[in-house]
Amino acid sequence: MKILKTFRIGLTALLCIAATACGDTSSDGLRGYQAPSEKSSANISVTDATTGQQFELKASDGELMVVYFGYTHCPDICPTTLVAVKNAKKKIGALASRVDLAMITVDPERDTADVLPKYLSSFTDKFHALIPANQQELQNAEKAFDATSSVTEVDGQIEVTHSGNCYVVDSTGLVVDEWPFGMDAESMAYDLKILLQQREA
């Protein structure tokens, strides 16, 4: 009986260690989550529509960057998420200056350099409008986040699928928090505050 009890305690301890090792964010008290295996976008670059240069997917020192895959013809998921990010930034006051937004379009045919920066300026003035120069560039970026997308034409209409998550990336490119679609602005703000306080400017 005692052996069984010891086994149970041992199992519980192992599970706790495993949860920590797997990046369970509950210890940080975040409302988002971290994937079981670490994600990093270090050394992954996408063309910045504003500069025409390659932009590496990591935040500036002491800052965070919210990375999102979407497209401007999306009337539902994308604006819902981007408005939530906008309002989350409003809720954290001065800290918002340390939060960048990078949207990578999954529909580069229609989201040109004339379109994407204007679209993003509706939500924030601190952004990177990223338009993959080719499919490989998009796939490399998606692979870093375990994201996926597709653009197909069905009966004359363009159908787009894309991952709905936001990925919060630090200055090393590490994904430190992940927000599923539907996470509200208050929860985003809650996480941003904690994560920014851990990274003094």
Binding site: V83, V115, Y119, S121
Partner: protein
Amino acid sequence: MKKTLKQSAVAVLAVISTIGLAACGNDSTATDTTVATEDSLPATPSITVSGQWARTSPMATDMGAAYMTINSNMDDELLSAKVDMSIAMMTQIHETVMGDDGAMKMQEVEKIDIKAGIPTELKPGGYHVMLMQLEAPLETGSIISVTLTFAKAGDVVVEIPVQEEAP
């Protein structure tokens, strides 16, 4: 006498319900405040729309979406939504769904089933009225008129305020 009392009670409830609906500020155009009596309940379709809003369209896009909650006193079907072509060239009813790979996509639906007495929500990440090829941006504070067509209730015109977020 017993029946008269019952009828009176129904009448009083009908008046209270009507006042209640008006007090809640539900859209007057969209709301059919006809309260059916026991006898007419199965025969008179009555649609109530509440919480309706259309999203402010971001710059550089000509797509929009409208959301609402639909109540019906009987099983019905939302068949289509239309707006004047001065607002958008095309209007469809769409649903956002998540695929097996976790990716989200929108798809047009032929109809939305409305169950009697159960609110049907059109909300972000689910059903929505999709406004395609907007003639002009949907600006916060403006109001657009959308005609919903139901299988039983027929056409219901809803005045929808444009705002950044759900009310």
